[in-house]
């Protein structure tokens, strides 16, 4: 802080490995960062980009590999606290600010020790003011953080990192919460910091931004380092291809003729507003034929969850209409939609799927317990529920002691089978499956996918979204690509172009070759 000349440290991460349980998050990834560089770290969800940066910042401990900062090997007990001392600063996707405190307090607080009963606020304020002045931040030391819009809160986080002496800034998905104007302001700031020899790592999956601001791009895919290239020497299409391309993407031909089937579900110009300013879904329209599987592709949080919840009735739509077999369902209750034939395999099975403390048999009839044969005139028929549970265990290969076993005691795969049994036993016309195989092992995943395809064969319509693009490629007949709550286009699986798909998912529109951001 004493002089204006800052030299960011060189960072060298060598052959980093990291596994979470059985999942290989990173294998053999190396990362080299020079001072005064803006580096973009891109990849799909789960490619390992945030994990890599969390390791650098000391949040996670790597299994293998070495980290050097300024050619000095970092100590074994590496932690964010030490990383800060080495001049690193990380701004996470979710800010860590105390809302009821002002900017000054938020910035200074991390540097105080518990014995500082009376910090020298005047001196601190001077430094903070100098920082704000120097980098043209748009906040004042005595602004309350809760009154600040999200873009300025991000600035507070950056000031906080700079105040702690950070010379290398790591920003995790910084533009997710920002409006286009705020993004511009942020990038202008980053470029200025770069001029002053700060180095910056930008973790993102938005390619258009990457092209405009970065010097070099590092591409990760499935925990592997694909390439590090200079931004000038590559096109956005090439990067997109590297992000999503896979060797074993088995694009099998659909054997079903769908063109002559009638439409079972239709969404017409649906708008969904979100309370917390996250994603607004705008003008979502698509049709689904009988026997068709429609995959929704998009980065996590692009609106796929909102769309599925709107179909189920968990979320209200602000305008537009939804038709099931030609009848509008938008005013129907969740229960009426269930009875009308909408089955649901939720994304988070512990929250929206099962009741963990109830038995398997009870969980399976949860949505239809008020109907015969499971009850008559409001009185439960325990025998029928039990029998139904037994049948389900046999038919869906649920591994459990008996139908009276408590759902909590089952493995994730078997819990998912319970939900599947409940969904399919209701003989639905439309199944909405959200990340249906997340966290399942190989055999359970295969089983679930097989069942979904079987359902489509039996003339049901299936809507599926998944954070695993491969899954959508394997199952879907058509792919609806969304980005920031907007439909980018619908592609037939047969003639899918990975490059184009990757670009659409990253918000680069189909037609233009230039990187154009869809304005919100």
């Amino acid at each position: 802080m004493e002089n204006n000349r800052v030299i960011a440290p060189t960072i060298n991460m060598k052959n980093i490995y990291k596994t979470f349980g059985k999942v290989k998050a990173l294998s053999d990834v190396s990362f080299y960062l020079e001072p005064g560089e803006i580096r973009a770290l891109v990849g799909e969800n789960g490619a390992g980009k945030t994990t890599l940066m969390n390791i650098l910042y000391g949040m996670y401990k790597h299994d293998e590999g070495e980290i050097y900062i300024n050619d000095e090997k970092v100590p074994d007990k590496w932690s964010p606290y030490k990383a800060i001392q080495y001049g690193l600063g990380m701004i996470h996707q979710h800010f860590s600010l105390v809302l009821h405190h002002n900017v000054l307090e938020n910035v200074v607080m991390p540097t105080l020790s518990w014995t500082d009963f009376k910090p020298d606020w005047k001196a601190c304020e001077k430094i903070v003011r100098a920082l704000i002045e120097e980098h043209h931040f748009d906040v004042k030391p005595y602004d309350l953080v809760e009154d600040l819009p999200i873009g300025q809160r991000q600035q507070v986080e950056i000031i906080k990192a700079l105040y702690q002496g950070a010379r290398t800034l790591i920003l995790d998905e910084p533009s997710n919460v920002l409006s286009p104007l705020q993004v511009d302001a942020l990038f202008k700031l980053l470029k200025e910091l770069k001029e002053k020899q700060f180095s910056i790592v930008l973790v993102t999956h938005k390619l258009s931004e990457v092209m405009s601001v970065s010097d070099k791009i590092t591409i990760l895919r499935d925990g592997l380092h694909v390439d590090t290239v200079e931004t000038d020497k590559i096109t956005v299409q090439q990067v997109a291809k590297m992000m999503v391309d896979r060797e074993h993407m088995n694009v099998s031909k659909s054997q079903r003729k769908l063109q002559d089937k009638d439409c079972i579900f239709e969404m017409i110009d649906v708008n969904i507003e979100n309370e917390n300013n996250m994603v607004h879904c705008q003008d979502i329209s698509f049709i689904l034929r009988r026997g068709e599987i429609l995959g929704i592709a998009g980065a996590a949080g692009s609106g796929q969850r909102e769309i599925s919840e709107a179909i189920l009735g968990l979320k209200k739509i602000n305008s537009g209409d939804m038709l099931l077999e030609g009848k509008s369902i938008k005013n129907d209750s969740i229960y009426m939609r269930r009875i009308a034939g909408i089955g649901y395999i939720p994304e988070d099975r512990h929250t929206y799927g099962i009741v963990p403390d109830m038995s398997i048999a009870e969980n399976i009839v949860l949505d239809c317990v008020g109907l015969p044969p499971f009850s008559k005139r409001g009185i439960l028929d325990h025998q029928a529920i039990k029998q139904n549970g037994k049948t389900a265990i046999a038919d869906y290969f649920i591994k459990a002691e008996s139908e009276a076993a408590i759902a909590r005691t089952l493995s994730g795969g078997n819990q998912q089978k319970v939900i599947l049994a409940r969904t399919l036993m209701g003989k639905p016309k439309l199944i909405v499956a959200c990340n249906p195989t997340r966290g399942l092992d190989f055999s359970a995943t295969e089983y679930l996918r097989k069942k979904l395809v079987e359902s489509a064969m039996n003339n049901m319509g299936v809507i599926i979204y998944s954070s695993d693009l491969e899954e959508i490629m394997e199952l879907a007949d058509r792919i609806l690509v969304i980005y920031h709550g907007r439909v980018m286009g619908i592609i037939d699986r047969e003639n899918v172009d990975m490059e184009q798909l990757g670009m659409m998912m990253a918000g680069v529109s189909e037609s233009s070759t230039q990187a154009t951001e869809i304005q919100l």
């Binding site: 968990l314 969740i334 229960y335 929250t351 109830m358 008020g370 009185i379 439960l380």
Partner: protein, 364 residues
């Protein structure tokens, strides 16, 4: 060499029994009650009384002789109802800790009907009890609406309502509803013919007490055998999953909460028409608070009955204990809060041991 494995097997057997007790709700509750009675006895030792004698005297005071048993049952009935007032809404994740307030207002309503309406005794009694039940439900309506419309924490609002209701009733019986002939704050008495009849006739056991058992059993059957009971269970255990399965959770919350308040209201009406005959200063003991403890310890409508009985025994035996041993009866109030604290401690202990066991297994 031989003794070591034997001892360790013995140890692990005890350990198994201990953990299995800690894993069952009922086991933990009973253990908590036993421990708190032991603590009470130990505290009694501070007053120079013999701990064992104190426990024996407590039981004697509450259970020896018809009169004592009737008093214990009369004490137990409102505790059961107040526990149900907590238990039923709690199934839907609404924590009604305002049973006391609902009971107070309900008692007031029953008294007003009993002293002002004339007619066929059976009709007046039914009307008065109905008024009590409705008053209980109206009292909870305020926190309920605040919760459903504005998301206000029902724990705060119902606790505060307790004070509002209690002092509102007190204000009325010192002012507009005061019996002109009374020397202290008390309302007019309900005429003899409008009181709940006793059964057996010459005992002091009013028929309301029998109803309490019937209500508890009905609630138990409802939870086990009806569609609504199962939905209520699902909603309480995982509200989001219940919602996603098409269960109208909000309606269940409202109905369950009103049913709970109706129980507290019934208790208030029963007390006025069956026991106190009027509303006077301090007419209601802290049944509402005791009910919260019993509901948590009991865990089910039928589990509530024995726990309410034990606490009623302690309550009625207390005065006899004071007379016989010199240990102040206030000590019993200390003891009434203890089971819940011990219960929570034991539950956490159970979880801790379970986690340790999993760790050990992973370690192996």
């Amino acid at each position: 060499m031989k003794t070591i494995p034997k001892a360790s097997r013995n140890n692990s057997f005890h350990y198994e029994v201990f953990t299995s007790v800690l894993n069952s709700h009922f086991g933990v509750s009973v253990l908590a009650i036993i421990l708190s009675v032991v603590l009470l006895a130990a505290l009694a030792a501070l007053y120079g009384a013999s701990p064992i004698e104190v426990i024996l005297v407590l039981c004697e005071g509450a259970l020896s002789g018809k009169r004592a048993i009737v008093y214990t049952l009369l004490q137990m009935a409102p505790i059961v109802l107040c526990a149900l007032a907590v238990y039923i809404p709690a199934r839907a994740r609404f924590f009604n800790v305002g049973g006391q307030g609902q009971l107070e207002i309900a008692g007031l309503a029953a008294m007003i009907v009993g002293t002002n309406v004339t007619g066929h005794p059976a009709l007046v009694i039914i009307l008065a009890m109905l008024a009590a039940v409705v008053a209980g439900m109206l009292t909870i309506a305020i926190p309920l609406v605040l919760k459903m419309k504005r998301g206000a924490s029902e724990i705060t609002t119902t606790i505060m309502m307790n004070f509002v209701c209690t002092y509102f009733v007190y204000a009325l019986i010192t002012g507009p509803l005061k019996d002109p002939g009374a020397f202290y704050a008390a309302s007019k008495g309900v005429p003899k013919e409008y009181l709940l009849p006793n059964f057996p006739v010459n005992s002091q056991l009013n028929i309301g007490v029998y109803f309490v058992f019937v209500i508890a059993i009905i609630v138990a059957l409802f939870m086990k055998y009806t569609v609504s009971g199962m939905k209520l269970k699902a909603a309480g255990m995982n509200m989001d999953a219940a919602k996603a399965a098409g269960i109208s959770v909000n309606r269940l919350i409202v109905l369950a909460t009103l049913a709970g308040a109706a129980c507290a209201g019934f208790a208030g009406g029963m007390e006025v028409l069956g026991v106190t005959e009027r509303i006077a200063e301090g007419w209601a003991l802290a049944w509402g608070t005791t009910g919260i403890a019993v509901a948590h310890l009991g865990g089910s409508p039928l589990g509530i009955l024995p726990l309410a009985f034990i606490l009623a025994v302690v309550e009625t035996g207390a005065r006899y204990m004071q007379a016989m041993t010199g240990v102040p009866s206030a000590l019993v109030n200390v003891m009434q809060g203890l089971p819940v604290v011990i219960y929570v401690c034991l539950l956490s202990l159970g979880h801790l041991l379970k986690m340790k066991k999993i760790d050990m297994k992973v370690g192996e």
